[in-house]
Symmetry: D2
Subunit: 351 residues, 4 copies
Amino acid sequence: MENSKVKIGVLGASGYTGSDLVRLAARHPNIEISVLTANAHAGKPMAQVFPHLGHSLLPDLIKIDDADWGQMDAVFCGLPHGTTQDITRSLTDSHPDAKIIDMSADFRLRNTKTYGEWYGIEHRATELQTKAIYGLTEHYRDEIKNAGLVACPGCYPTAVLMALLPVVSSGLVDAGDLVIDAKSGVSGAGRAAKEATHFCESGEGLSPYAIGSHRHAPEIEQEISVAAGSDVVVNFTPHLIPMSRGELCTCYVRLTGQATANDLRTALAERYRDEPFVRVLESGVIPATQHVRGSNHVLIGVFEDRISGRAIIISALDNLVKGSAGQALQNFNLIFGYAETTGLEQLPLFP
Amino acid sequence: MENSKVKIGVLGASGYTGSDLVRLAARHPNIEISVLTANAHAGKPMAQVFPHLGHSLLPDLIKIDDADWGQMDAVFCGLPHGTTQDITRSLTDSHPDAKIIDMSADFRLRNTKTYGEWYGIEHRATELQTKAIYGLTEHYRDEIKNAGLVACPGCYPTAVLMALLPVVSSGLVDAGDLVIDAKSGVSGAGRAAKEATHFCESGEGLSPYAIGSHRHAPEIEQEISVAAGSDVVVNFTPHLIPMSRGELCTCYVRLTGQATANDLRTALAERYRDEPFVRVLESGVIPATQHVRGSNHVLIGVFEDRISGRAIIISALDNLVKGSAGQALQNFNLIFGYAETTGLEQLPLFP
Amino acid sequence: MENSKVKIGVLGASGYTGSDLVRLAARHPNIEISVLTANAHAGKPMAQVFPHLGHSLLPDLIKIDDADWGQMDAVFCGLPHGTTQDITRSLTDSHPDAKIIDMSADFRLRNTKTYGEWYGIEHRATELQTKAIYGLTEHYRDEIKNAGLVACPGCYPTAVLMALLPVVSSGLVDAGDLVIDAKSGVSGAGRAAKEATHFCESGEGLSPYAIGSHRHAPEIEQEISVAAGSDVVVNFTPHLIPMSRGELCTCYVRLTGQATANDLRTALAERYRDEPFVRVLESGVIPATQHVRGSNHVLIGVFEDRISGRAIIISALDNLVKGSAGQALQNFNLIFGYAETTGLEQLPLFP
Amino acid sequence: MENSKVKIGVLGASGYTGSDLVRLAARHPNIEISVLTANAHAGKPMAQVFPHLGHSLLPDLIKIDDADWGQMDAVFCGLPHGTTQDITRSLTDSHPDAKIIDMSADFRLRNTKTYGEWYGIEHRATELQTKAIYGLTEHYRDEIKNAGLVACPGCYPTAVLMALLPVVSSGLVDAGDLVIDAKSGVSGAGRAAKEATHFCESGEGLSPYAIGSHRHAPEIEQEISVAAGSDVVVNFTPHLIPMSRGELCTCYVRLTGQATANDLRTALAERYRDEPFVRVLESGVIPATQHVRGSNHVLIGVFEDRISGRAIIISALDNLVKGSAGQALQNFNLIFGYAETTGLEQLPLFP
């Protein structure tokens, strides 16, 4: 029934995150997409910017300043970091009932000073930051349900935290010795044309990047620290892989006491037993990004290390879905009282 | 309502065609997947053979001989050519009410002699062939509705015929001068391990194959001949492209009389105006396989040739969906009276 | 011996064409690379712009205005079209003995009016154009030997003309009915970051582009017209393929008289019998870009068409080597009297 | 001079390792390729099995039993493990002067019991094992010069050991806490058709494999143990990356005493200062496999870890060249007294 639909706006609809939100939302039975903004493409039909969406009836792109906030019960922000804080405050002031689901980095770090250090700009909405809920659904479900502002995690933090939070909080691994070797597809770098994302530069080869300096590190550390009950620093080393979608994090951990790899697997399996999107794999089954492509799924595998007293936890997800737009929609469902899987039932596309 | 569901079996569920049918059918609200067969993998859970389907509750794989035909209202065949005729007769004899939707090549050629020549084996169910309906949905819709046996077209024929049938049947192009340069992703070659589909052999390069000898040629010629009203021979030259999914056919045609490229576009647009899966693109918009990936969509574009009196028609689709499993499901919907788009609403996955 | 070396400059060394010339020239026993220019990167070591060249001792990049023409016996121009004419005149005026080997499009079209129409700018060195030799080595060898200015062909024209010139000039095919379906890797679009060459846009899919409007069409037509002895218009439809290097042209031709595909193969094989870089393949052997990658080789195959009186000629080469830098170096060898294969002996890199 | 050439045989010339050896050796000025064996392809021209080598004059493939050992001064073995020991003994017995350069795993492990455990077959030439020299050129140069049997390292061990040996032997890092996250292109899995190397299975995604059980682990541990002076167990976790060639190892190390990342870089730079194929990168420069493709180069970078007291060492190479055939040829040069770079001067192919 038309009346039962929630009107949404997508700010920054010309990026990969925004367009994937549109792809998913267009199939959500309780969503009406009423506003799409993209300043550089304002005036164009969405299908001109993203031809794969040409089969859907969608509003044309408009400038963010031309958006009628009154038309939106919920706003998904897919804007670059640094631009979302002002917009969020403006929106919150004028339409306090609108729910804001932010896919940018602007409200992920509770410590606004840390935000300033890593993003090179002062936080401009510190009072909103205190109300923002970190949108890692499986770990902040209750808080998200009542949130007005959800800060969806980065793609890497989602993959890493899904794998590590349960074993850190249960004390099975040493939070001070976490080595995270992360691999991402090229879509994680966004749609803007850059030499690094040129087919000929990123194809047929791989390279690490932002070693020791990736902005997802403080976000990971924030949440691991909460789970550990003390300040934690982690190794986080991302690599660019010649594929469009997908993210896989290989986490090397030191076991505490007599804990074994099996104990980790058991703890993870119990923690996620009822989660519709998470699958903790049986012993010997290896996660691969091919098996989550296009879906909101997370795969987690646990393996023994050859070094005694160590283990390996591996997680895989689609960086644009569970790592961004899918998790945002999952949070939307929570807030508006829909089944959490609504609009996210799509199975992975393989091959 | 459980009672309202149609029970289906998928024969040959361990191939790409079979698994893509399962991916789609698992989301179809009126389908219950009751049987999955794969002789080489009998006894295994489907998720072991296709980990991307691990989130779905599916029956284990069984041998085809162990299948209980009584459990199936409809049977999708994804078996290799040459094996489907016997099975179909056996099934038809014992369960005449079951609907058979064949994705193999075994019933596509109405002339069983031609079948024998191209497939190197005698047709073993010639009496069934006379009842088989060629499952190019948009062109055989009425016949399919009442069919007991549907022979879904090959992926290339689907792409080519969608582009050419309307302009051949309307006499706008010369049926005797059709040059079809076809390009397919590697999944078209099936999942069986072959040197030609090795990542290192098919990646980072392209090559033509089966030049002048591809088995989809007689199928294309059969349907073009019907449209032209006379026997037609076409050029059909396939190329293997380093991508998993997708098919694009560049058709070089000679215009008749005073016909123009615009006339072709208009004819196609009118012919497909009400088709939910077909989009005839505006002048200047170019089809690409990236924009149909994972969907049942077909994109068609028409372009002027530099050579006077000629034009170019280009079609793009996903070889495993509209080119196989998706069209099979579309035909299922027709037969069982569901909206034709049921279970096929998924938008393309891009990037 | 150091004294015996020819000093060269490479203008526009920060593009793929320029860097591939450097890759090859660095191994040429008779070349000393004395100047590398790249305005946007002036002052940087070449290895910073192209890390793969870090093992070679190369001069730093400088601005073109800072280049000392006196240091160069030969100049390779890898500049964008439209910028080369002025530079060439300036160089010719001040250093009339320097040999200029141009890899841009600025001197390829003998009719400067055609140049203006296709490139949108007036030709600014018409008097030099009359002296420029079209650098398709195997077809203009004698002229190139004595040339002061060589206009190396575009990548597509090289592939197409190698396949078609001998059969057009011998009258075996109808020059008025040439349909050329061309496929290129992404490096053909250059290194500049563009949305179209983003890994996520050009990967895992293919699309035609510049249909009927590609600037290589007039160049192809110019040379085909010479061979045919009359003005010819061709169909030329390029496609972007998800690979970095490689180019394959599938040429659909109409045979004249009683000519057969075998006749075409024989004519090509005879024409190229003594050519060190060209291999006309035996009947049934199919060219693939994987088999020429990184080399100066050209593969040509001839196939029967299913349509009577037609045939298919297919050529494959590496667009950056035989399609650009390699052919430029081949021409350099001709001019300076070295064996034509010098510095070009590298075998294809496969896989 | 023809007389000055060394006659070589390549056993197992139909694999990627064997064919890359042929690619390189065909350009070596002092090599005459006199024998190529490949049992499954015996009787075929090499160009039929590897069309990219069609421009070279090569002997046809023969069965290994038909090889005339007297024709070979040196034998390169690219056979599967388990088959090389018998052949080597037979060859050594009949032609004790022939030099054997083995690219298989059959003589890499000095402890033949360890060989048996990891390869599942008893070592059948233990007396030859004692004479075999581990062919990591930069670390066993003197021994290799006089060797009759060189066991070239695996691709992963080459990448790992080049990065770690100098810092382990100097005591700068804790040999008991080495975490090696390794990434390889698909060619590392060989040319035999397997589901795992199918383009559609290994493309557009990545997956770890052989976690904690890869046969290169004991080889790495053998050499690290020598450098450390005590038995060492390492973490070694390989990942399959969607690219044909290339290998990158991200090594996470714990620093000893007051050692810093800079100390590691300095130690590596000094150790490899005069090595023609090794480049220790300046601070901040990141290795990538794209920049070594097709060459015998090794790139090594050192980076600070966010965790205090830890660092990251990253190495990149081409698994088929420095990781196999290139290093084999480098060892050949040492043995026969040629400059170590002979035949290996080829620069990386980028893009």
